[in-house]
């Protein structure tokens, strides 16, 4: 996919109703009905027009507040990560969805060295976010250096709407650097089946 298409899609979502074009009421439309008694409809166009518009000064204050909140949130997330998940032991597992014609994801369970570390049930909105290119951080935790076995169990609907459960296992070596693993749910067109691939990422 062109990444630019994705960017523009985000942009369109961001802008909301920019396709709207609003103009002042036209005085040219004067057709009357068989019952021409005047109603208070004229008030309609004047519904608190003066109070509806967002005050620019308040808008600027709100934007400053939002900016400060975003920066604070960022700093707090960094602090939390440093404190709870130091780089030397950090492991993050992500889930992404590519196409997904042969598999409709419902939930996933994740085990590391036989211990369940995460279990997640997806909402339609989250599935949609994955389908549009979003990547979910399924698990963030700590692991000792050395070799480990990670297993993910995917539950959902497979080809022809049949219940589908599949496990995928991967062995990896945790080093002193933060570990990043991606589990990709992809379509295998030839077999008309989903595949689950692991990919290790390096920082």
């Amino acid at each position: 996919m062109s990444r630019f298409i994705l960017l523009l899609a985000v942009y369109c979502c961001a802008l909301g109703s920019w396709a709207a074009e609003v103009s002042p009421p036209s005085a040219a439309v004067t057709k009357t009905t068989p019952a021409p008694v005047k109603t208070p409809a004229a008030v309609d166009t004047a519904v608190a027009k003066s109070t509806l518009a967002v005050n620019p000064a308040i808008g600027a204050q709100i934007e400053d507040l939002k900016k400060a909140s975003i920066e604070l949130n960022r700093d707090l997330m960094l602090l939390e990560e440093d404190l709870l998940f130091p780089a030397s032991t950090q492991i993050a597992v992500y889930v992404s969805l590519d196409v997904g014609h042969y598999f409709a994801l419902d939930s996933v369970k994740l085990t590391i060295d036989g211990q369940m570390v995460s279990s997640y049930l997806y909402t339609p909105k989250q599935i949609s976010a994955l389908a549009r290119g979003g990547v979910q951080r399924l698990y963030l935790g700590n692991l000792k250096t050395g070799s480990h076995e990670i297993t993910a169990f995917f539950i959902g609907k497979g080809p022809e709407e049949r219940d589908y459960k599949r496990g995928a296992t991967y062995n990896f070596n945790k080093t002193q650097k933060p570990g990043m693993l991606e589990i990709r749910i992809k379509d295998e067109t030839g077999a008309m089946q989903p595949t689950f691939e692991f990919k290790e990422w390096q920082l």
């Binding site: 396709a19 074009e21 609003v22 518009a53 967002v54 975003i70 997330m77 994955l130 979003g134």
Partner: protein, 616 residues
């Protein structure tokens, strides 16, 4: 005579309503090349711009998102726009344009700037920005630019230009439907109903599938129906109204228009059908209010005056009930019930109609639907929702900070205890003792092997017996020297010595293995001691980090407290503005209902007067 609102006003209301938001053709699904960028997108697509921006900024702080050039910046700008931070977005795009960027990035940045200027009605600014876009932008961007130019032409009342631009859209572009609808609305406002209908009708030939596209289609058909109605082409008007879905947001307007088209063609019986259906719908809707006096009007025209009188009386009763409900709503505004009224789930998109429908809200709350149809009100409510969400996030952090403070204190205490234990039993002393023991073992083994001395390898009871034997040999030597030793004693000792040597020789391999194992254990103990000491040393160093964490946590707590205070103040200010807007809207609704009520009562009086034979 019955009192109704002029059709023209209905038409005007319809075409003036802003066209709903639409998302472009969804991008083909795929994963992005960087997990952190994808994680930010995942949050954004769930309508969580604060989380999305935070993810993106954390990624930047950790060294940036790799392999994407300036796309993360463009994405960040888009996120800012989505979060209502136009000024920050403008600053970011303007900064990008001062740097050396790829043409794709520059095109995107210029387009975003054009959009921001469009929002500010800065038409020359829009054109100036668009002239910087390259001659061959991507397909999507080209369609977006066309849409922007078409909208701008429409906003400037240049329908001819807007029409030329609309024809340039690619057949696959979703924008086409909106362009034609906007054009139809623009022509309608200019009184050119033929052109309006022509443009609305273009939607008839388009393949529209998504709900928002179907809603647009319903609006177009309703607008076209009113255009025909104003042109006295009543049958065509009825045909257009008939194509509107009955569950559409504009269905009430279509039903009302359908009735008027029938009434205008003197077919009052036909008018009664849609109007009767409409009269059973929720009275918060403007068309449902109006139909209560349109219905008896049709009865009167059909000569069914008793039915008309009965319908007017029913209308009077319903108007009074509705006014009473509105009065209750207005009273509720005085109390802090606003929070409850606007308590839309924060993680859901803002859709009052959907929320009211899903939660079966009391009738008076449904009046807000009219307010929610106004962009400015939606913006104000969105600000409140953003502020409330910020407060939730900050409160969560506030709670976490205490937990983290406790965690740091506990870790620090644990480290201190650990270090104390090691301080009481110095590492060097432990190591020296262990090394001495290990060396003694190694020398003993080495000597025994070199001298081929099986007895040097014995240990435990065997070693004790050997020691006793050696002492006996020494005593016998002293006895022999003094001439006191007997031959029997000498022979006995020689026998035991031989027996001991035989046992030691038999056990030599086992004893040697045991000694080698002991050496290994000593080596392992030394390694373990070394490792433990290194860990202790590392923990001693992390004492500095704990201090750093304490400092960061303290600073964070202060910032959270300050930000919470600012947020709470902003929330209160925002509520005051919202309360005033809601009050204005409710009072307007009440004024309209009161007007309808007065007209109804006049009609009731008129019919009663006619019945008693009085004429004026």
């Amino acid at each position: 005579m019955a009192a109704v609102k002029p059709i023209a006003l209905l038409w005007a209301g319809l075409v003036l309503l802003p066209v709903v938001a639409f998302a472009k053709k969804p991008p083909p699904p795929s994963t992005v090349a960087d997990l952190r960028l994808g994680a930010a997108l995942y949050e954004y697509y769930q309508n969580k711009p604060l989380d999305a921006l935070s993810e993106l900024l954390v990624a930047k702080a950790r060294g940036g998102i790799l392999g994407h050039g300036t796309h993360p910046d463009i994405m960040e700008g888009g996120f800012y726009l989505g979060y209502g931070m136009e000024r920050t977005a403008t600053e970011l795009f303007s900064r990008l344009l001062t740097e050396q960027q790829s043409s794709k990035t520059r095109d995107a940045a210029w387009f975003y700037l054009a959009r921001l200027r469009y929002d500010a009605n800065d038409w020359p600014g829009v054109e100036a920005a668009l002239t910087h876009v390259s001659r061959d932008p991507s397909w999507d961007l080209a369609q977006d630019i066309l849409a922007l130019r078409a909208n701008m032409a429409t906003a400037q009342d240049d329908t001819a230009k807007a029409e030329r631009l609309a024809q340039k859209f690619d057949r696959e572009a979703t924008w086409r439907a909106y362009a034609y609808y906007n054009l139809g609305a623009a022509y309608g406002r200019k009184g050119n109903f033929k052109k309006a209908v022509d443009n609305f009708d273009l939607l008839l030939h388009m393949r529209l599938e998504r709900e928002e596209e179907l809603s647009l289609y319903d609006k177009a058909m309703t607008s076209a129906g009113y255009a025909y109605l104003l042109n006295k082409r009543y049958q065509e008007a009825i045909d257009q109204f008939s194509q509107v879905r009955l569950n559409s947001p504009v269905a009430n307007r279509a039903l009302l228009g359908y009735g008027w088209a029938a009434a205008e063609s003197q077919n009052y019986s036909l008018a009664l059908k849609p109007w009767t259906a409409l009269s059973k719908r929720n009275l918060v809707d403007e068309s449902a209010q109006e139909v209560l006096i349109a219905l008896p009007y049709a009865f009167e025209k059909l000569g069914r005056k008793p039915d008309a009188l009965s319908a007017y009386k029913q209308a009077e009763k319903q108007y009074l009930e509705e006014i009473s409900r509105l009065n209750e709503s207005l009273k509720a505004l005085v109390t802090p019930a606003l929070d409850d009224t606007l308590n839309l789930p924060l993680d859901e998109e803002l859709s009052w109609n959907k929320y009211a429908e899903d939660h079966d809200l009391p009738a008076q709350k449904a009046y807000f639907a009219a307010l929610f149809a106004k962009n400015e009100f939606q913006q104000q409510v969105q600000i409140l929702r953003d502020l409330l969400q910020m407060r939730t996030v900050l409160t969560n952090w506030q709670n976490k900070m205490q937990l983290y403070q406790d965690l740091v204190d506990e870790r620090d205490l644990s480290r201190d205890a650990h270090m104390q234990r090691y301080a009481q039993n110095p590492y060097n002393q432990q190591v020296a003792t262990l090394i001495a023991q290990r060396e003694a073992l190694a020398v003993r083994l080495q000597n025994a092997i070199a001298a081929n001395d099986a007895e040097a390898l014995v240990s435990g009871a065997e070693a004790q017996r050997l020691q006793t034997l050696k002492q006996a040999v020494a005593r016998l030597s002293r006895l022999q020297a003094s001439g006191q030793a007997t031959a029997e004693q000498v022979e006995k000792l020689r026998f035991y010595a031989g027996l001991n040597l035989m046992d030691a020789t038999e056990q030599e391999a086992a004893n040697r293995y045991a000694l080698e194992q002991n050496l290994k254990i000593a080596d392992q103990q030394l390694a373990q001691l070394n490792k433990t000491w290194q860990r202790a040393a590392a923990e001693a160093q992390t004492g500095v980090n704990f201090q750093s964490f304490r400092s960061r946590l303290g600073s964070a707590r202060n910032r959270i407290d300050e930000q919470l205070k600012r947020t709470d103040r902003a929330i209160e200010d925002n509520k005051i503005v919202l309360r005033a807007q809601i009050q204005d809207a409710l009072e307007f609704q009440r004024a309209r209902l009161t007007q309808y009520l007065a007209q109804t009562r006049l009609s009731v009086a008129r019919l009663l007067d006619e019945a008693t034979g009085e004429k004026y």
